[in-house]
């Protein structure tokens, strides 16, 4: 048997594959068996209910898609009463993705969510380009990132994962700030800020004008970001961006990721996550690797 288990800042996952927030939810249980995932992460949740952005909220681009959902959320009460208990029936740990509009609010929501024994870890979505409408995010500023993570760190001992933005000059700086703020792991990364215009109607293809680019088109950027971050932090990295196949996941692990999130791929192949776990096993068999941890960051640089 191949050892697939990995440790994300104290949280042990049976395998490195988990969904990306916003591309997963309870409804997918009729398509895949959640118990086969390393973890489950439902869509980012906010303190108060939020309406989300104008439709259309998605459009496709070459080898990718842009979304501007905008953290539509039923609020924390609904989440604690319905979503958390729902996922409690599965053995895969629940990582709660949190979104907020201020450092204070991040502290508040983290406090509420982390207290629930069925929540295993928190992911801080400080990088959503859809929140403020102009593509800006907390995760584009190192100081704010530090403060925000520190605030959350103060309210919980559970593993805190900070999800970084790729839309920055130096992701290394933000990664270090998050680590110093007390983050136990980093998700690298969220979507690339992007836009698409229909030349017939001359209108933006999504209601919110700009949105986040995801899918295979973005994988080369994600691989680069993981590689850069791995060099400057000691905490584990969760790779995210453009993974469709087990080879893509392994590429991220070679670049330095300890675990891998799969988002958009599930829209194209609803079964993708489970297939990827299987594919990783096959790869390890072919390459005679007994423990996936041997692969982490093992890209060969001459």
């Amino acid at each position: 048997m191949k050892k697939l288990a990995v440790d994300i800042g104290g949280l042990i996952l049976q395998n490195p594959i988990m969904p990306a927030s916003g591309a997963f939810g309870p409804e997918m249980n009729s398509v895949i068996d959640f118990n086969r995932l390393g973890a489950v992460i439902p869509k980012s949740i906010t303190l108060s209910p939020r309406a989300g952005n104008a439709t259309p909220r998605v459009c496709e681009t070459p080898a990718g898609m842009i979304n501007s959902i905008g953290i539509q959320s039923k609020g924390i009460n609904y989440y604690m009463e319905n979503v958390v208990p729902f996922f409690a029936q599965y053995q895969s740990p629940l990582i709660s993705s949190l979104s907020a509009e201020s450092v204070e609010e991040f502290g508040q929501i983290a406090d509420i969510v982390a207290k629930n024994p069925n929540v295993s870890a928190l992911e801080l979505n400080i990088s959503c380009p859809n929140l403020k409408g102009n593509g800006l995010a907390f995760g584009m500023d190192a100081d704010l990132t530090y403060q925000l993570v520190r605030k959350v760190r103060d309210v919980t001992d559970k593993p805190v994962i900070t999800k970084l933005s790729p839309n920055v000059t130096s992701i290394q700086e933000i990664a270090i700030a998050a680590q110093e703020g007390g983050s136990n792991a980093l998700t690298v990364a969220n979507t690339l800020l992007a836009m698409s215009i229909d030349v017939e109607t001359r209108k933006p293809r999504i209601g919110n004008i700009m949105g986040g680019l995801s899918g295979p088109a973005t994988k080369p950027v994600a691989i680069r970001l993981i590689y850069q971050v791995k060099k400057v932090v000691t905490i584990p990295i969760i790779g995210c961006g453009g993974v469709m196949t087990s080879d893509d996941a392994i590429e991220m692990i070679l670049a330095g990721a300890t675990a891998v999130q799969v988002g958009t791929a599930s829209f194209i192949h609803p079964h993708a996550m489970v297939d990827i776990v299987k594919g990783i096993q096959t790869y390890m068999e072919h390459h005679n690797i007994s423990d996936i941890n041997e692969l982490i960051g093992s890209v060969i640089i001459d």
Partner: protein, 261 residues
């Protein structure tokens, strides 16, 4: 719901802009209802990237075949039109909530525009099989686009065709036509699909005549599984407005509640 790999039996052009796709569904056990849809992978390429939602058009459980009627519009449907008989199609579904036909709806009026005709045809088929009286108003750009008219007539649906090219599809003419039908028949329920303008008209008729009704909506989709919240629209039950997802909560919704933007 599941991604099924089905065999293509027919995929042929049936008018200037429309194709008919027929697949073998002997491997699909789930019940498939009028108003439901499948999310089709139009090619195995990365562009088109997303699947395309297409309503079920004809369901034949006896022969284990399912038909789709689709408009060739952009990249996805162009690629779909290139698939050949014998090839395998990856289709995810059946998805969503279908139409509701209460027992007492012995006479129903359908108002469909463009691709909406495909969606309502499945409902007409089911209603006709139940021996209900179905009156259908079909609206399209041109006669050439009204390809299901004969098929529906043959199953006993009373068809009224209106087209842009003949100048019969404007809102006034359709309003007048509906008035006539309401006078002639005791319509019990209204169903519509395919046009915002006509849907607003149907909402008015429903309100005025106190008739129940349903509408099948279209919205751009990401996951088609209810998890991404791409495909939302608003329902208003008179007091509160709530956001619903076309892919799982719909695509069929109560006519009077849908907030048409």
């Amino acid at each position: 719901m599941k991604a099924h790999q089905v065999k293509i039996l027919i995929n042929k052009q049936v008018s200037d802009r429309y194709y008919l796709l027929k697949v073998d569904i002997s491997s699909i056990e789930e019940k498939i209802e009028p108003g439901q849809f499948f999310n089709l992978r139009c090619s195995d390429q990365l562009y088109p990237f997303l699947r395309r939602p297409i309503s079920v058009y004809k369901i034949n459980r006896y022969n284990q075949t399912l038909e789709f009627l689709y408009l060739v519009k952009g990249l996805g449907t162009k690629k779909l039109a290139q698939l050949k008989e014998g090839q395998i199609l990856d289709m995810f579904g059946p998805l969503g909530q279908g139409f509701h036909l209460q027992d007492e709806y012995d006479t129903i009026l359908l108002l469909a525009r463009g691709v909406g005709i495909a969606t309502l045809a499945a409902l007409a088929q089911k209603a006709s099989e139940d021996n209900r009286k179905v009156i259908g108003i079909l609206s399209a750009r041109s006669q050439n686009d009204l390809l299901s008219a004969d098929y529906l007539s043959d199953m006993g649906v009373e068809i009224h065709k209106v087209t842009d090219e003949e100048g019969t599809s404007d809102i006034n003419s359709v309003t007048y036509l509906i008035e006539e039908i309401l006078q002639e028949y005791h319509i019990k329920a209204l169903y519509t699909c395919g046009s915002k303008r006509l849907s607003r008209l149907m909402q008015e008729v429903a309100r005025r005549e106190q008739l129940p009704g349903e509408i099948a909506l279209e919205e751009h989709m990401g996951c088609a599984m209810g998890v991404c919240f791409a495909c939302v629209c608003d329902l208003n039950d008179g007091s509160t407005t709530k956001s619903v997802r076309v892919c799982v909560d719909g695509p069929v919704f109560p006519l009077e509640q849908v907030v048409i933007s």
